[in-house]
């Protein structure tokens, strides 16, 4: 009984991290129909940037994360203006190929600089603290904060999209870029802002993920797949759906892993395929607004 509840809690907390992976991916897809195949490697890059800021500059984890969020936003803005903008168009092949190339470049670049060793972000005492819910049932403070972070990030993005001028510009551009431009929205800046925002969220995903598990340069593609699965399970076009999708994926992996540790990742993939069979539009698709 306690073991079962423990598994469910752990799965939900893991889901928070996956939701953070997923939000950045669906953000770009929703606004500009671009799928960034380097998304997973960008998250790993974020984790290494935080690590480097802590080791080289000697700042605390919080400050390092803040610096990385800003740096990643700027990097995303530049990535769109200097690279992706040149290949975006009717044909979806060029941007896919470019981001796939970027994925290979990031992976091997990180491998050259940092080597293949596993790393982890050190969060001090906070890392080991846990909260006792019942005798024999406790949850780690760090995973709990990861899930809360995911909820806050989704809520903030939701506010941004539906309560601000920038959000309206995002939605208008997503609906029809030409007409949005006629209304005086600068499409180039909107797109660059969206990619920047996606990378900034990826940096937040990186810190929650880097504290709870080891990372090395090769694990990017797997993060991309988890992000993608969370998006599809949750349903396209809905941020809260994506959060739920992440939690479903986290639960599937944790339950699968409890049955047999070797089945952990495979269970996540199978859950994704089952949802695709039964509910091709995801569990919580965006209704008509």
């Amino acid at each position: 009984m306690i073991g079962g509840i423990d598994t469910l809690l752990e799965g939900m907390l893991l889901g928070g991290v996956y939701a953070l992976f997923a939000v950045g991916l669906s953000l770009i897809f929703g606004i500009m129909r671009l799928v960034n195949l380097a998304h997973g490697d960008i998250i790993v890059l974020g984790a290494y940037l935080i690590l480097t800021a802590m080791a080289a500059v000697g700042v605390s984890l919080g400050v390092a994360t803040l610096l990385t969020v800003v740096a990643m936003f700027l990097a995303g803005f530049a990535l769109q203006r200097l690279v992706l903008e040149r290949v975006l168009g009717e044909d979806i092949l060029p941007p896919l190929l470019v981001t796939f190339g970027l994925s290979i470049v990031l992976q091997n670049g990180l491998l050259l600089i940092f080597g293949a060793d596993s790393r982890r972000l050190q969060a001090g005492a906070f890392e080991a603290t846990s909260i006792n819910l019942a005798p024999g049932l406790s949850i780690g403070l760090a995973p709990l904060i990861a899930l809360l972070t995911a909820i806050v990030v989704v809520a903030l993005l939701q506010l941004l999209f539906y309560r601000t001028l920038l959000g309206r510009a995002f939605r208008a551009t997503a609906d029809n870029p030409e007409i949005a431009q006629l209304m005086g929205i600068d499409q180039r800046n909107i797109y660059a802002f969206a990619v920047g925002l996606s990378l900034a969220v990826s940096a937040i995903a990186a810190v929650t993920f880097g504290i709870r598990s080891n990372f090395d340069p090769s694990i990017g593609p797997a993060r991309l797949l988890y992000a993608f699965e969370a998006v599809i399970i949750g349903g396209l076009g809905s941020l809260w759906g994506t959060l739920a999708g992440g939690i479903v994926l986290g639960l599937a992996q944790t339950i699968g892993g409890r049955i047999d540790p070797e089945w952990q990742i495979l269970s996540g993939h199978l859950a994704f395929l089952i949802v695709l069979i039964l509910r091709p539009h995801g569990l919580f698709p965006a209704g008509r607004r």
Binding site: L37, P94, L97, V98, I104, Q107, H269
Partner: protein
């Protein structure tokens, strides 16, 4: 209408001067390629097997993504399935490896046929990641299959390979050891496969179906309105490409004689290199991948010792080509000098009589 005007006759023509020259050159070069094992060292033979199988995979990906619009980054799924089917056939059932190759293709096609409708539910670019998820799931599934070595993989014993059809005859013919004779047979099959694939794609692209696909890629609604059954053509293209990809995978691993899930389902080996070949040569051209694979071979020969720096460079080159030379080496050259080795365009020619 005055009687002075000459009647104007229009006709459709595909062949060009360069395509005729290319056909003659091919008629000379192809037979010579079959004779290469008589003079080549085993190393060169293995290099050429790499070139042919890479080219085969590149052509298959190119027709799937370039013409079919099905951009998959999960073709390693079918390479790996084919490879595992070969090992299962040879070690568990005791099949002749040569017979196991088409069966491996059938297994890959079957899996593609079942998963296809599911994958096609994913919109455009999400299809790409979906295909990658499938490849990962199959990799993890094969790693659970203990009779074939589980996660660590296994080797084909030389006893299982000794009875392969033709090995003894080739060994006697060239006076070489059985292992080298096996490479010769693999070389011939790889050559046959790549020639067959290239010719089949040429015919497909020129055919009604190929035109239909090109039309639906350019304007789906318009193509459907004139009766192009895009979905059906795409589905069968996806299944047939999986069939052939499975056979190529089986062939590659027959030559390697050692398998592991990580290697057989490697996204770098069976998708990244393949994409590189197509991008460098030119997407949506039949000639491009030939150029691309030669570039890859040259780079591999000189730089593969650099490991991750080499891969980093491949990625950078591919990005730069996509940014500044989107048609690739062949596409750009063909546009500049009006070259066409495979006559896949239809030109409307006006004859004045």
């Amino acid at each position: 209408m005055t009687g002075d005007h000459q009647p104007i006759v229009w006709r459709v023509q595909s062949a060009t001067k360069s395509s005729r020259i290319a056909a003659i050159a091919a008629a000379i070069i192809v037979p010579l390629l079959f004779l290469v094992p008589a003079v080549a060292s085993r190393n060169l033979l293995q290099d050429l097997i790499f070139v042919f199988t890479m080219l085969a995979l590149a052509q298959l990906w190119n027709v799937l993504a370039g013409w079919g619009g099905l951009i998959s980054v999960g073709q390693q799924a079918f390479v790996g399935l084919g490879a595992y089917a070969l090992f299962a056939g040879v070690t568990l059932i005791g099949l002749d490896p040569l017979l196991a190759i088409p069966l491996a293709g059938c297994l890959a096609a079957l899996v593609a046929a079942v998963l296809g409708p599911l994958m096609f539910r994913l919109e455009g670019p999400y299809f790409a990641i979906g295909s990658w998820v499938v490849a990962e799931a199959l990799r993890l599934g094969c790693a659970q299959f203990k009779p074939l070595g589980g996660g660590t993989g296994m080797s084909l014993s030389s006893a299982a390979l000794a009875d392969m059809t033709g090995t003894k005859a080739v060994a006697a013919l060239f006076e070489i050891r059985p292992a080298a004779a096996r490479d010769v047979i693999v070389y011939w099959i790889a050559l046959l496969l790549v020639l067959g694939i290239t010719f089949a794609i040429y015919l497909f692209v020129r055919s009604r179906l190929g035109l239909g696909l090109a039309a639906s890629r350019d304007n789906n609604a318009a193509a459907r309105s004139v009766g192009v059954r895009t979905d059906r053509i795409r589905y069968w293209l996806w299944v047939i490409v999986a069939f052939v990809t499975g056979m190529v995978g089986a062939l590659v691993y027959l030559q390697k004689a050692r398998i592991s899930p990580d290697a057989a389902f490697s996204v770098v080996d069976w998708t990244a290199y393949v994409l590189f070949v197509v991008v460098i040569g030119g997407v949506r051209t039949i000639e491009g991948p030939v150029i691309g694979v030669l570039v890859l071979w040259a780079l591999q020969f000189n730089l593969s010792g650099y490991g991750s720096l080499y891969l980093l460079m491949l990625g950078l080159i591919a990005i730069l080509v996509m940014l500044f030379m989107q048609r690739g080496i062949w596409g750009s050259a063909a546009a500049r000098w009006d070259l066409q080795f495979f006559a896949i365009r239809k030109l409307l020619i006006r004859d004045e009589q």
